[in-house]
Every structure is written in C-alpha cells, then in structure tokens.
C-alpha cells in the first residue's frame, strides 16, 4: 500500500521547536507546544528527539481503542482521531510501543499526527530552515516504521552516545 511518511533524522534536529508551533497553529489556531502532534523532547541539552506517530503497519493504537474512535486514512495512512467518539481513556497511548499519542491538555481527546491531510506543516518549516530533520516521503508501507515508535528518552539515550561517544552513556538518567 502506498503511503506518506515523515522521515526523522534526529541528529539534524536543532531543537528549535518551530515544528511544534507550526503544527499547533494549524490544528489549534495558536502556538501550543504541548498540544502539538509533533513534540521535540530534550532529555539532555543537545540531544533533541522529534516525537511523532511512526505509522506502524499493524496500528496497535487503532486496535486498542475501546470506542473505535481511531481509523486509518486510506490516502495518507495517517491515524485519524474522531474527537466526538474519543472518551480520553488513554488506551492508545498505552498500546503504542513509543507512547506517542497523548491527550489534549484541555479537552482530553487523543492527539495523533494526521499528516495535515498530506502536506504536513512541520516538514515545511523544518525544510524552510534547512535542517531537514523531518522529510516527507511517498513510499510503500513497511515494517521498519514500527521500530521508530520508541519512548523518546530511550531514543535520546542512543542518540547521546552517537553525539558524545562514551560520555553519552551517562548523561541521561
């Protein structure tokens, strides 16, 4: 199945968080970092991890939803949240191998990247700044994606070693 995916090159991420601002302006109408569908975690300075839906091929979050509020968009393959149906139970976050979904800080509905319908704002601003930590690809669905669904602190621990060598082993508790 053809789908859209956001490639994430962690070491290119500057930590500017303009992706969070562009995302929340698009979805919330205003700058709102913790309501963003993409969030850049920084468990240690210099170690920035863009955290967003990896679009696993088996969609455990969709499977886990007790009220069928989540579905897969047939065009983009993004997970779509039916806010009317969502009861804010948090089952999707627990089912996700990377704990990517989170509840909206105000209405407590699940927040998951919808790829902005195919033209994601986060990718646009990252490309505009020349970082290309986020890139859009059109490709076949593949099983590797699920391996990107990881807790951001675990990702950061690996990335710290890549950046800092041996010292990287100890910077994140």
């Amino acid at each position: 199945m053809s789908s859209i995916w956001i490639v994430r090159d962690y070491e290119n991420c500057s930590g500017c968080r303009r992706c969070e601002l562009a995302c929340s302006i698009h979805h919330e109408g205003w700058m709102w970092p913790e309501a963003s569908r993409i969030r850049v975690f920084m468990p240690f300075p210099g170690v920035e991890v863009p955290h967003l839906c990896a679009q696993c091929d088996d969609y455990p979050c969709v499977e886990s939803c007790p009220v069928d509020a989540l579905s897969v968009d047939s065009g983009t393959t993004a997970v779509i949240v039916d806010e009317e149906a969502c009861i804010g139970c948090g089952a999707c976050a627990k089912a996700c191998p990377g704990t990517v979904p989170h509840l909206h800080p105000r209405n407590r509905k699940a927040v998951i990247c919808d790829l902005c319908g195919g033209d994601p704002e986060c990718v646009k601003v990252c490309r505009e700044a020349g970082y290309n930590a986020l890139r859009l690809v059109h490709e076949e669905m593949n099983g590797h994606r699920k391996l990107f669904a990881r807790n951001p602190v675990d990702v950061a621990k690996d990335l710290a070693v890549k950046l800092f060598g041996e010292k990287g082993e100890e910077v994140i508790a």
């Binding site: 070491e11 290119n12 500057s14 930590g15 500017c16 968080r17 303009r18 601002l21 929340s24 302006i25 919330e28 109408g29 205003w30 700058m31 709102w32 970092p33 913790e34 309501a35 969030r39 850049v40 975690f41 920084m42 468990p43 240690f44 300075p45 210099g46 955290h51 804010g88 139970c89 948090g90 976050a93 704990t99 990517v100 979904p101 989170h102 509840l103 800080p105 105000r106 407590r108 601003v125 505009e128 700044a129 020349g130 970082y131 807790n151 951001p152 950046l163 800092f164 060598g165 041996e166 010292k167 910077v171 994140i172 508790a173």
Partner: protein, 621 residues
C-alpha cells in the same frame, strides 16, 4: 481582559515563611515597564524602595526575580530575565539567558517568579498549572550542573507523569539552576540553564544560593499566552523567521568563529587579562572547533531558527567527555586567550567546567585571569595559591576554577569578584587599593565582556559603551548614545527576546504592537519607555550599598587598562580617548535628562512618571 501576550500572573514566594501564592500586577505598570529588565527594576523598587542602600544583596531581604516578557516564546528566541539587587554592582541588571524554562513558565500560566526570604534547608521550586511548590533539594545541593539537570529532568518528569498517566508523555520541564559557585555565593556566579546557557551578568547565581534555592523548574501544558492581534502575529512570526534564515554566515558560524577573528581583525579580545587584545593564533579559529568538535552544527533555543549555538564535545584525550556549546565567542576568549590558551580542546574543557560549576564564563574567568596577572607580577605567589598559575597552563586554571567555586584557600578571596578581590588582596599585601585596581578590568563591579574599546574597531564597544552603562561591564547592554540602544538591548531585555534573533527594528516593533496592542513604536521606546527603565536602573545603581557605593563621574569610567596603549597588532599604540569619554559622558547624561553627575533631575523623574525616586535622588544631588 484584553489579551496582551501576558499569562496574567506572577508566582510570589517567601522562602522564609514558606508562603507561596499568585499575584497580578496593574496593567499600567506592565505598559510602562513591559517585562524582564524594566519590570524587574520596578518590582524591586516596589519591594525595597527607600531601604535600597541598606539591603544586603546576599541577605534574605533581597529579592530574586525571574521574568519573561509579553513577546517571550512568541517572537523567535525565548529567554528568561533574572534580576534582583546585584551583589556585584549593588544596582540591578536584567540578566537574560535562552531557555525552554521561559515558555514552560508561561504555558503554566505565569509571567515570572518573585522569590524573597531564605529557606532553612536547600529547596527548589516546581511551577505547574496547579501553582508553585517548594520542594526539598538536599539531594541536589553540591551537584554540578550536569547532574542537577539529569536528576531533575528524571525526577520531575516521572512525577508529573504519575500524577496523570492517562495523559501520556509530556516533554521534560524547563529549569534554571545554580552550580556549586552559586551555592557558595561566589559573587559573580551565574544562573545556569541548559547545561551551558547562563544569565551571566549581575551575580544572580549567588543570590539564588544565598536563598538556599537550587533551582526553579517549570512545566506548562497550556497554550502560549494569547495576543492582541493573533493573525498579524502569525504573519510577522513567519517574516521574522525568514529574516533569521537568510542570515547564512551567522547561522553557520554563530559566535564560535570569534576566538580568532575578534583578536585578529579588530584587536579587541582579552588576552592574558587584557595585556594584549591582538593575536594571530589560528589554532583557535572557528574551523578548528567545527571540524573536530562540533557534533551538532545547528543548535537552537525555543522558537529560533538562527541556531547560533553549536554543540561541542571532546571525545578523546585528556579532556574527554567535555560538552558545551561552541564555545561561544565570550568563552572562547575569556576561557581561552584570556588564560593564554589557544587550544580548542582545553578551551572546551574549561568552558564546560566553568558552566558545570556555575561560574560566570565572563566574570569568573575575568577574576581568574586577574589572579594570573597578579601571579605574573609577583603580587600573588605560589604560597598564596598553592600552585603555579602560569599563562597557558590548563591544569592550573582548572584547579583555580574549583578553588573559587568552593571558596577554598585563595578561592575564598577571588570568589568576591575582581573588584572586591582586588581590595581584599591589597589589604592582605599591605598595598594601596589603586595598585591592585590598576589591573582589574571591571566597571562598577561588573567584569567587562570580551570586547575592548582601545582599538575602536570592535563591533560592539566604544568609548562610553561600558563607562556609563547602567549594567557596568555588560557587553550585551553597551551604551551607544542614550538613544539607539533603548530600542535595542533595553527593549530586547524587557520584552525578554533574544538580541541575536535580530530582524529589522520596524518588524520587531510591529510585532510588539501586535502582541500587546499597546501603541509601541521605536520612538516611544527611545524617548519614553527606554529612558524610564534606564533612569530607574541608574538611580538604583547610584544608591548602591551597603558594602559598595559608586561615586558619580569618577566611577563612570573605563578600567585603567583601557587607557594603556595597545602593545601589539595593527592598531598598536591606539588607546581609548579619555577626553572623548569625558565629553560623550556629559552628552549621554544630558540626553537622558540627568545632571552633570548623572543624577536624574526632578523634571526628568516627573516626565518619566518616576517621581517616587525624587526623595532618594534629591539626597544624591
């Protein structure tokens, strides 16, 4: 209430009484002082007022203030502004640092934190949408910056997650903290954040230390505060970023190419405590850092696409494990050339060490260079220090940084900062104060940033730049003419945005107007708001006390060294023009409506709505 970019409330903490609550400030005060540097000075006056000269900056009656401004987090480059009565200048400094702490505070619903009193035991503050909490920090006391960060990130993230696990993960909190130097009240110690970012000038790390306050941690989940004209702000936000992205060379180099070029091109870099300002040591050139040590070439702070920071890491050899930013130009020079060190590895190590200890990389390193010159001149001896302190000896400067941070041996004297240490050493050695002050490169107790005035070629500092600066040697706030800088650094420090996220002035002021709805213009800041803030700061600086009081005019001067002729380089023989300083100082005072001694006149105070200062200023006149 009309949205004006403010979250709307401030956290008011009394550590002595363990009382914590929310306060609001009148809208008129916000419009008159905006935020950060300006508002901080006003809050200080309101809290301390006529008792200013009696209040010990390191006593419980001082107030530590961390403020944002209405544009913080919205305009590119979010910062926090730390202030209080300064233990080095005895006036006030708006000391800013780039950090995620700023927007975390605002998204938690607070524009700032005001801390008075002194805790019995070490504490830290946690600020969330639920309010403020005073928490035990005994397990953090004594830790270096890196460990403080690591421990608090984990501890606070885990706890906030456990309070509402269904919400899923939230990003780590933002924080400001002090290292051992702040804890031990090294006078010029920094408030630290993000491992290697610092609110450097003013010595507010020691103020936090004096209150037994290890850190302030904030985590918000709400939106960035609403603004007056959101659609206009979104458009201006895009345009601001376009400007920043177009600055290609600054984005590539940051200030991390300055270690060679500032000395080599402009002859304005501190070398061996300013004995020279020119060098041609290409080993400390930008590409030598970039090629071998920059593991991240574009490192940004919140909402900034300039990315002037670069993450450095030493992965091999004697200094393996040192992590810092570029280092930026100030630390490349102050922890490099100023120590006679031209080796990037040693420079990265010393910068990282200074950050970890919570020293000021400018102030603390200036004092260390000062001590090394005294050693060179035989005034301080191996017996005084416990070791040889030779230029270029990385191990020796490493040792000295630790001695000062822990106030051990001679470190206890040097921990008083360059000016006070000079007086103490004069006393120790039975010398006249001026014999020691002649090598002390400070203005009103604040060690001078790494931009000399002698060549007159520097891109920041000239003649009266520091001499009449209400923030002394602070290079981020140098005076140009009492007019232009008021819509520049004075505005940026009060809006609490980054001076390096520079876009055209019209854009910045359109942005400010769209955020607040106030009728703000470049002119209104140059003629009214800026003068109000600087005049208030001048008043507090000249009130000073209790341990130090500055003499108008006599102390509105450059350090003696800035009048010695440059001994080397293409501008050899040049020096700061003393007569020009005298004339420009008078013009500056006149421009701001101060008398010939720089004391604000009654008419000026009335015009700027500062009549509350009249009583103490009439006493100074």
């Amino acid at each position: 209430m009309t949205p004006r970019g403010y979250a709307g409330k401030y956290l008011d903490v009394d550590l002595s009484r363990e009382k914590i609550g929310d306060i609001t400030l009148p809208e008129e005060t916000l419009e008159q002082y905006f935020g950060g540097r300006g508002l901080g000075a006003k809050i200080l006056w309101d809290r301390i007022g006529d008792r200013w000269s009696e209040v010990d900056p390191l006593g419980p009656e001082n107030v530590f203030i961390a403020l944002t401004g209405p544009m913080t987090g919205i305009y590119p480059g979010g910062r926090i502004c730390c202030t209080g009565k300064s233990p080095v200048s005895n006036g006030t400094v708006g000391s800013t640092a780039s950090t995620e702490f700023a927007h975390e505070l605002r998204t938690a619903g607070y524009d700032g934190v005001i801390v008075s009193g002194r805790a019995e035991e070490p504490v830290y503050l946690l600020v969330t949408e639920g309010g403020g909490e005073i928490r035990d920090a005994s397990h953090l006391w004594g830790t270096m910056g890196e460990e403080t960060l690591r421990t608090l990130n984990k501890e606070v993230s885990d706890e906030l997650f456990s309070r509402d696990p269904d919400m899923g993960l939230m990003k780590e909190p933002g924080m400001i903290y002090v290292g051992p130097a702040g804890e031990n009240m090294v006078r010029n110690a920094c408030v630290m954040t993000k491992l290697c970012h610092a609110a450097g000038y003013g010595g507010y790390g020691s103020v936090m230390g004096s209150k037994n306050l290890k850190a302030i941690v904030a985590k918000g989940r709400g939106p960035i505060p609403e603004v007056y004209a959101p659609e206009a702000v979104k458009l201006l936000w895009k345009r601001a970023h376009e400007h920043l992205i177009s600055r290609d060379s600054f984005r590539r180099q940051g200030t991390g190419y300055g270690g060679w070029s500032t000395g080599n091109f402009y002859s304005s870099e501190p070398i061996r405590n300013w004995q020279e300002e020119w060098h041609d040591e290409r080993s400390i050139g930008g590409p030598m850092f970039e090629t071998r040590f920059w593991v991240k070439k574009q490192w940004s702070d919140f909402n900034c696409t300039t990315g002037c920071m670069k993450v450095s890491c030493v992965k091999t050899g004697r200094w393996k494990g040192a992590i810092t930013d570029n280092p930026d130009y100030e630390l490349q020079s102050y922890c490099g050339t100023n120590f006679g060190i031209y080796n990037p590895e040693a420079n990265i190590h010393l910068s990282a060490l200074i950050d970890n200890l919570g020293h000021s990389g400018i102030g603390g390193a200036n004092t260390m260079g000062y001590a090394a010159e005294l050693y060179q001149r035989g005034i301080l001896t191996e017996e005084d220090l416990g070791f040889e302190l030779t230029w270029g000896d990385t191990e020796a400067f490493d040792r000295l940084a630790r001695l000062i941070a822990y106030r051990e041996g001679i470190g206890d004297v040097l921990a008083e900062g360059t000016y006070r240490a000079a007086l103490r050493i004069a006393e120790m050695k039975g010398l006249k104060p001026e014999e020691l002050l002649t090598y002390a490169v400070h203005v009103k107790g604040i060690e001078v940033g790494a931009h000399g005035t002698r060549s007159d070629e520097d891109f920041l500092a000239h003649d009266i730049g520091y001499a009449v600066n209400v923030q002394g040697g602070d290079h981020t706030s140098v005076v140009r003419d009492g007019y232009h800088e008021l819509s520049g650094s004075v505005f940026a420090d009060s809006a609490v945005i980054c001076n390096f996220a520079r876009t055209p002035q019209e854009l910045i002021f359109d942005f400010a107007k769209a955020v607040t709805g106030y009728p703000i213009t470049v002119e209104s800041w140059r003629r009214e708001t800026g003068p109000r803030i600087v005049t208030l700061q001048r008043a507090l600086l000249m009130l000073g006390g209790p341990d130090v009081t500055w003499e108008p005019v006599r102390d509105d001067e450059n350090p003696p060294r800035f009048y010695e002729p440059l001994p080397s380089g293409p501008f050899k023989g040049r020096t700061t023009d003393r007569e020009l300083v005298r004339r420009r100082r008078l013009v500056y005072f006149e421009t701001l409506g101060w008398d010939e001694r720089g004391i604000p006149t009654k008419e000026t105070l009335e015009k700027l709505d500062l009549s509350f200062l009249e009583k103490s200023m009439s006493w100074l006149r």
